[in-house]
Symmetry: D2
Subunit: 306 residues, 4 copies
Amino acid sequence: MKKVSHIKIKGKMSVNELVRQMDSAGVLGAGRLGKAVNICEAMIKDNDCKVFLGLAGPLVPGGMREIIIGFIENKWADAVVTTGATLTHDLGEALGYRHYQGNANADDAELLKKGFDRVYESYMPNKIYEGMEDFIEKNFERLKGKSSIKDFLWEIGRLTPRKSICKACFENKIPIFCPAISDSGIGLMMWGQLAKGKSAETRAFEDLKEIIEIAWGAKKAGVLYFGGGVPKNYIQQAMQFAPKSADYGVQVTMDRPEPGGSSGAELKEGISWGKLNPKARFVDLICDATIAMPIIYAALRERIKA
Amino acid sequence: MKKVSHIKIKGKMSVNELVRQMDSAGVLGAGRLGKAVNICEAMIKDNDCKVFLGLAGPLVPGGMREIIIGFIENKWADAVVTTGATLTHDLGEALGYRHYQGNANADDAELLKKGFDRVYESYMPNKIYEGMEDFIEKNFERLKGKSSIKDFLWEIGRLTPRKSICKACFENKIPIFCPAISDSGIGLMMWGQLAKGKSAETRAFEDLKEIIEIAWGAKKAGVLYFGGGVPKNYIQQAMQFAPKSADYGVQVTMDRPEPGGSSGAELKEGISWGKLNPKARFVDLICDATIAMPIIYAALRERIKA
Amino acid sequence: MKKVSHIKIKGKMSVNELVRQMDSAGVLGAGRLGKAVNICEAMIKDNDCKVFLGLAGPLVPGGMREIIIGFIENKWADAVVTTGATLTHDLGEALGYRHYQGNANADDAELLKKGFDRVYESYMPNKIYEGMEDFIEKNFERLKGKSSIKDFLWEIGRLTPRKSICKACFENKIPIFCPAISDSGIGLMMWGQLAKGKSAETRAFEDLKEIIEIAWGAKKAGVLYFGGGVPKNYIQQAMQFAPKSADYGVQVTMDRPEPGGSSGAELKEGISWGKLNPKARFVDLICDATIAMPIIYAALRERIKA
Amino acid sequence: MKKVSHIKIKGKMSVNELVRQMDSAGVLGAGRLGKAVNICEAMIKDNDCKVFLGLAGPLVPGGMREIIIGFIENKWADAVVTTGATLTHDLGEALGYRHYQGNANADDAELLKKGFDRVYESYMPNKIYEGMEDFIEKNFERLKGKSSIKDFLWEIGRLTPRKSICKACFENKIPIFCPAISDSGIGLMMWGQLAKGKSAETRAFEDLKEIIEIAWGAKKAGVLYFGGGVPKNYIQQAMQFAPKSADYGVQVTMDRPEPGGSSGAELKEGISWGKLNPKARFVDLICDATIAMPIIYAALRERIKA
């Protein structure tokens, strides 16, 4: 049995040096964060492994946008699944809007008057919807015929004026999936067009062919989840079709297993479903994604040549 | 200021009598549960109010199926939004399968061999997929042309051999929405057909027209959430189109606001977005849905003539 | 394997009838609440079993005072361990003060001016301290010589003018322990006397003799925890001295195991320590105590002749 | 209003550089961690400020022992309050025992046989109790007469053979308090002596004089909590006696406010009590202490000359 090594901090340390210390502590949050970085490193460096990145929660209003784009541009992910909200926040920023540092105890009726939509302590300017409406209206002809949501999102990426998550996926040919795209500001803007009598042909089940094909064809698979929700679950169900289920798994969430929902379910549970290989290397980390993601990313940047 | 009344238990009490005691305690979980029942009662009894019921989490594996069907059959909801998992669990039971009482500490590799898929401490027999595959294959011709997910689900309800959530919605003409339907066993069975070269025309954005029309046309609106996820968020965004935003709100979840995600966001946050009326009656209850839902339902049954 | 029975609500049900339904659902929060009542019933009815009741958290400001007194007066507990805060709230109420229904989003600086101390959404009038100061000052001579905290608390119970937790313990000769009594309003009032140069002889380690003697002499032991903290841990360490460790265990808390602290630790963990018998009947319930306690108590009242 | 700056990771970064990036993101976990370091830096550098450090949870089994000792040796704390468990784990290590990296899903009955006590996924060898029993027995004559728990703990520190938290406090003349000392392995070892008919005079209320005197005499006060429980609450009540209440506050915990207990209460709540100055700089951080503590400490080490 390995001893718990007490973390030693000596003068200026790099993030990865600290993570190595955490790894040798080996238990609880610190130990799990150390292990998470090790497993991420392994799945990214394993050339046989397809990495599925699931992203949920307020990552863009939380300042994680550059890091997510980094994951994609470094080709550390082979497929991305996210929420409509993340893509809406991302498109808003790509159109020149920003999120603001706010207050979780704000007077929400006051914010309503001032035109700010609160996301806990981050504020989104409500006029973001105007910019998105213009963008979708102007580009509707290009978007309406995309039969899969992934093609729809790649097209948004192609059309987006500035660097963005969608654009990075499009340019790097990384498939990006968003099963619940209608549940988002982008969805609402599409509805705005439909409400005028136009029609959009994007199909609900179509993307399954592509994500399952990626899983099916992967010699090995790794899953990396920041947050739960549909992104995690959608990747999990694709893992049922990976030849050996997932070989690597890292989950970072504040959700817990006891209520029984998919978001908080331990990765281990996936073994029973054939989603996770019984011999997989995996770890569940209970941590705010905005804390864990920069640490994991920074440590990986020290370990992996970009 | 009202005093906290200490709850008095005298001999045999009905559920509603206990809830009334909790209401006069007036604070913390008990007080909020009391208030939740009051607000549910008000929104259901208000003839001008359209009630939107959001359902997420393992409600069917958790024994809530009859209660959910009760909500629909009592016409206590005017629209239902749920997850693909709930509909999959529901369809499985409608096809004659059941969920089982298991163990959260089970050996998942053993369960895999025995053919049980674990949902925390509930088990789903894996052969449920065979029954669903047959059902979808047999009925594919009837399903493939449904352009909205709601019509797709009503058709499933129509075709379902036994009582079910979908069937109750279909028979009572309660619209049921599931934006992320592809993220589910039902989605996988549809993929099974697509993988054979067939085609399904259900569209991703189509349902927005219907849910927003309901919100738009409602004199008042009430939201009742068990769990968060896409169901809550999808109703929340429809509320932006209700003439006065939501007038009543009850949220039951174990998720918390601090990580900033939609699932755990306090209802109050919705005021800034124009989703909740600043004068609305609302309450957030942090409680396992399988505890709160039967209590709320039983108390309502005492208060409202079916 | 047992099926998950779907909970059926038919007209007016008693609390115990609902709990029985939850028990036959058998999983998640509802199933665990059902099981919790069964185990409480068993430990209380088992004449060989000494029941240790641990109480932490804002139970008095949360309206649970009558129920706690009921547990004691029904002799459903053989020893009580609680926090200084609970005893302070209890003494305050016994001296004629009350707690009030407040608002979790209140302006705390405003409350400070108005003389209300906030406990989430419950308010304690700050002048409670004056009443307690008088009480302690007036009775200091009787209190100062008590060598164990238990004797100190029984004396407070004896001196208390109205019904209270301490008084119920004193009158029913149920030992009540509070290792961290100095960490409370009562502690501060004692300090007020010490600051005047008086001296109090209550000893820090003395109570251990009594609680361990109870554990040591018990043919069987049951533990019932509402909240964690010192009360749970203090009982847990006494269980190391029970001849067969605890035979029954019920834990109700919102704390979780992952941070590794005692409060959220699963009861199962106690097996490794010799605190819980490997063959014990036990359950962990993640639930707000103000919801679970009245339900458990009401169901027990239907099952057990008082 | 400040924009949320997206965190940029460029090559090798020091921990403090990453924390600075988090600070300019400014929201959610990352922003709060950034703010926590700023406030810690300010309270430590403020020569008029007395810093009260509260420590709860499995910090020693979690690998935080060197860091805690560092806080003390750097004189970053003027008073320490902790749990009996922490002091027990610390003494165990000072006597030559270690904690081990274990498994949260271990078979606890097996661990019982092997002599390991589980603390989530950390294991403590049960024979630690033998070493402690010898230590307490051998030194009982020196310990029995200490009238305050602080003096008792300083004496333990003095007697401890190796570097330890208690020893660092003793050597640096930093008062260390532990109101619930009887609720711990050290308490049990003292009981072992009492059970032999010996007597120990340490008094329950005595320490209040010293901690309140420190608060009373402080021009300014800062509170830094890792975990809640008695340590936090005991410092909080001392703050009622600080001339201006606490001027700085940082709280790191996984506990939440909704259950209403002291551990999870937001610092803001303390304003109503006169524990926190309405103009104080403070932040609540929801994070595993084993993750936050090394980051905070490492960042401070870059900012503050030791």
